[in-house]
Symmetry: C2
DNA sequence: CCTTTACCATAACCTAGATTAAGAAAACAG
DNA sequence: CTGTTTTCTTAATCTAGGTTATGGTAAAGG
């Protein structure tokens, strides 16, 4: 397992000297998690940020009646965490699960704090990522308040062209906030209406670079 | 107009020397905006962060059919901005309006960037605020996906006890994502059921300190 | 003082999407 | 290759919340 994907990501935002890269990487712990395996479960304290080197993670919660609500996907090149729990070091409510066999780098909370002091540029890196996440999160809020399920799916399609063919569609339904049944119906209407932009393998250029999920 | 509220807020997160405080304050511009006045409108580029010294702001968007969707309130002691526009310096979609006569401090984007370099502690300050905002935004997303309108109102009540008696309830309705009519109906049922926790002047201790809105 | 402009309440009706319940079709394990 | 599990589809019924409409009260404002 190598750090190339992560270092590339860092270099999109800040410039680190080879020594700084070295120092950063010393704090990383590799981890493999099999399909359906968990990196975190409700009630646990999130003690690491996870950087997805390969694979796909999802973060979701359960409501009172056991319904899943998918807060975020994290394909390769994304960070993931239960942010509430990570920042506050209180027990969180998120499950973080691998949707396929996945390899991640763990960055311990402690190390992250230390790195902010050792290499202030990293504070900038994570500030910018959090800013982007916040914008994305607010946009999703607005979309949930003001757009129909179909429009939300169209957004999703633009934002995550790759995921559509890679993850079961019930998870996509959960992300945009509808039941799998309704999602299926919606899709059927869609095809009937000739709006043929549904599953065809799209421009496979990875997820849009401005989309993040955490630090 | 004095900077005490803002400096107090800063000191909750970082310690600045008197000189640093002075340097920070030199970049601030005071502004008064009357009730219903706008600090920003759709299509404009957001060139400042706004710190509410006194009064209340709201940030909202319009959908295709002219419906308002309230993204955030900012009472005294909160930061406000169209974050997408501020970060990207592209035209935004938010209206930022005063709900009562309001006094704000403007922190120009340029100055903010410069201050990150001059006083790295400020980068930390804003990083932490953005982190908290992100957690709040994600929580609100989860709530919108998994809780009923009534539960969302209960949350709101806990989170913004003061606002309830200070702003017209149609705005609260918009914030939690229902129409004013439905909100009214809900409230009526509520009272009928004897759940008498609706408008009584609650513990007036200001908004919970962990709730933010931006930097 | 009277008018206008917010703001709030109530009620009848309507629709997007939930829920429940099946089956069909993949994916997967043995 | 066969049995099992997971995923997808379809369809009937149901409900939370939206829409439209109408009247009422409070408070700006001339």
């Amino acid at each position: 397992m190598d750090t190339s994907v992560l270092l590339q990501h860092l270099s999109d935002y800040i410039e680190l000297t080879p020594q700084e890269q070295e120092h950063f990487c010393q704090h990383l712990l590799p981890k493999k998690v099999a399909k359906r395996g968990f990196l975190l479960q409700t009630g646990q304290i999130c003690r690491h940020s996870f950087f997805v080197h390969q694979g796909i993670l999802r973060g979701y919660t359960l409501d009172q009646s056991g319904g899943e609500h998918l807060l975020s996907f994290a394909p390769a090149g994304w960070w993931m965490a239960d942010l509430y729990s990570l920042f506050s070091q209180q027990p969180g409510q998120l499950f973080i699960q691998a949707m396929v066999d996945t390899e991640v780098w763990l960055l311990p909370k402690q190390a992250q704090e230390q790195l902010y002091l050792d290499i202030p540029k990293l504070e900038r890196y994570f500030r910018i990522l959090v800013e982007k996440s916040l914008v994305a999160s607010q946009q999703r809020l607005i979309d949930n308040l003001s757009r129909t399920a179909e429009e939300r799916y169209a957004q999703f399609e633009r934002r995550f062209p790759d995921l559509i063919s890679q993850v079961p569609q019930k998870y996509i339904a959960s992300y945009i906030g509808v039941t799998p049944e309704f999602f299926s119906k919606m899709r059927a209407n869609w095809l009937k209406r000739g709006n043929n932009s549904v599953p065809k393998k799209l421009s496979s250029q990875g997820c849009l670079p401005e989309a993040f999920n955490f630090p």
